[in-house]
């Protein structure tokens, strides 16, 4: 069974086509990433999958259950961390979790145990009796994740779980998600606008732009799917024989192309960093003295640019969506 399955899923808000015939599937047990810039339609997709808004057309199933026809069934099965911070500021962490647990009708004893375990897991046990209003953004985000797990869902959905977090807290969340998956065989679907996040965390990634899925594969698969390669740039001491060097390097099997540019030699390779020692050895043999080596690995960014024709502008993205990402003027949507 697939955890998610959509067929031609479309959502329009007036003139805006937030989702455009999206068909994809998330396998059970998988850690799946939806990567896309601001306004790509990530939150819209998540909201449809979590029964918060109805699709305009098309079909979606979550854990095999139709999200329009059997909303209650879907809600029982999933744990969701929304993009906006949605815990109650004027309640304590414990109260937030306890009330949430009761929304799922979990009996008291089980609820208590579960909450104390989860708060321990996200490192908030000591602060569990403090008002959430006194929490930092990172603590609050961890609480949101803990809360989404209170009813032991088999499928966890997170909408930009690391937005607004510093790099260190981001690592903490990543570790947490990895561990959850290992320990409970949880299926995870997350959205992100950070390339590194998709790359570091997800097994398969769908790139979404203007409401369309433009590419979907494993991270490796996505990279292999485009003609660009990792590049190594090497600079030499003055007076080396450029032609000799190019000939020598071009003969190596992992080098796709080698060319001189103003600063030095640029080599396109499909062996990545592993090619560097081999290259250096070669140059030593022919007596060309190397001064500097640069490696530019192929990233999802390149994949993204290849598919959408532009980079994701991260800096802007961070600022904007933390405040308004999930608070799109609803009036138009109703």
């Amino acid at each position: 069974m697939n955890a998610v399955e959509t067929i031609e899923l479309t959502k329009t808000f007036g003139e805006v086509r937030a989702l455009d015939r999206v068909s994809f599937a998330v396998k059970e047990g998988e850690l799946f990433g939806l990567l896309g810039p601001n306004g790509a339609g990530k939150t819209t997709l998540i909201r449809i999958l979590t029964t918060l808004i109805p699709p305009t057309s098309g079909e979606a199933r979550v854990m095999g259950i139709n999200v329009v026809e059997r909303q209650a069934g879907v809600r029982e099965k999933i744990g969701v961390v929304a993009q906006a911070l949605t815990t109650d500021l004027d309640l304590t962490a414990f109260e937030n979790m306890d009330i949430y647990g009761r929304f799922y009708s979990i009996p008291k004893k089980e609820r208590r145990e579960r909450i104390s375990y989860l708060l321990g897991m996200v490192g908030l046990k000591e602060r569990s009796k403090d008002l959430v209003a006194t929490y930092s953004g990172g603590m609050r985000r961890r609480l949101e994740v803990a809360r989404a797990l209170v009813h032991r869902p088999a499928f966890l959905i997170l909408d930009e779980p690391t937005i607004g977090l510093d790099p260190q807290s981001r690592l903490v969340v990543w570790d947490m998600l990895r561990k959850l998956r290992q320990d409970y065989n949880l299926t995870i679907l997350l959205t992100t606008l950070y390339m590194e996040e998709a790359e570091a965390l997800c097994e398969r990634v769908a790139i979404i732009d203007y409401g369309k899925i433009v590419a979907l594969d494993t991270v490796e698969g996505l990279k292999n799917g485009i003609p660009e390669k990792d590049t190594v740039e090497i600079r030499f001491k003055e007076g080396v024989n450029k032609e000799d060097i190019v000939r020598e390097v071009g003969a190596l099997p992992f080098v796709c192309l080698a060319a001189w540019e103003d600063e030095g030699l640029r080599i396109y390779t499909d062996k990545g960093p592993a090619s560097i020692p081999i290259l250096l050895e070669r140059f030593k043999k022919i007596g060309a003295e190397v001064t500097e080596v640069f490696l530019k690995e192929l990233t999802l960014e390149d994949v993204f640019i290849r598919h959408t024709g532009r980079p994701i502008r991260e800096e802007e993205a961070k600022k904007v969506s933390f405040f308004i990402g999930a608070g799109i003027p609803r009036r138009f949507g109703r």
Binding site: L52, R75, I78, D88, I99, Y100, Y104, R147
Partner: protein, 373 residues
Amino acid sequence: MIRFLAVVERDLRKFLRNPMVVLVSILMPILYLIILGNSFQGELKNLPLAVVRMDSGPYAEKIMERLRSIEAGPRTVALYYAADQGFAMEGLKKGLFKGVLIIPPDFSRDILHKKTAEAGIFLDNSEPIASNSVRNAVSAAFSGIGSEFAAVREERARPLLRDIEVYKKIDYDQTLIPGVVIMAIFLGAMTTGVFNTVMDKFLGTEESYLMTPITKTDIVMGLLASGLFITTILAFLVLFISSLILGIYLWQVLTWQTVFAIFLVIVLSTLCLQGLLFVMLSRADHPRIVGVFGGFLNVILFFPSGAIYPVESFPWWLKAFSTVNPETYSVHAMRAIFSKGEGLGAVKGDLAFLAVFAFIMVAAATLAYKRRL
């Protein structure tokens, strides 16, 4: 049930975390009391006055003529002719009349014989403004009678108007108490219930519980229940404190029966208003809308409720509105219970209206609420 109670608990906890809200909710209605108590002295119209005329003599006729011309001219009173005193007094107690004028059988004869003629007027002093106006109108009708017809001016031959107030003496300020309590109920209803759904929507917290299995009924009923709980306590506190300010010691005045009756009125009124606000505002997406609309509704419901001016002096259209305004019934019932010391029996009709209105509104609130982002 577990979900419903979770909604209630969440709401109550959040309320208690903001003690300022509690304080303001109590203080504001009491301030109203003080301001209102000092700001209304207008002319009233169409105050129902029952006349029990047992004398067919010329002086009685003269007085009736004058009353009729007051009824036709400045329209301070509206006359009702009652055949017997018992019936008229019953009407006064029920609030049908603001006053009862009794002209005894030998009224004209006494004047002719230059004896002291005595007519009686009974006033509903639980509404002092109204009863004062009635008293003045009647006094005007009586003025000069006896001197005109009597050949010799004789002080003692002047008809005396003996005015008897039906209830134990109450001050004008005190009769505002039902109005202040209904005001507290309105404020309570406006700052709980629907306000909290709109706030959750506004803050985005709504999103997180709409994706849980919680049902629409859980949400609406839970919010109404916690709002009801909070408002009932607030209303009793306001009742207690404002009485205390006016020198009434409730524990001396009220019996368990009347407390129970007041409790019923408060609960039903709260449900009416909460339900009404929910129906109108559950789809608002900004708390300010609730504020603006609520403030407007407060005025619209409060002034035509009879809390300050008696309903009888309104023009017909406002009168019509006040018959469907739940606050009219709350004020009427509370005034009957609190000022007049009547038991449940006297307010059956009010309670029935409030119960039906509350039921319809609460049911409609559940229908109006949209469980969607």
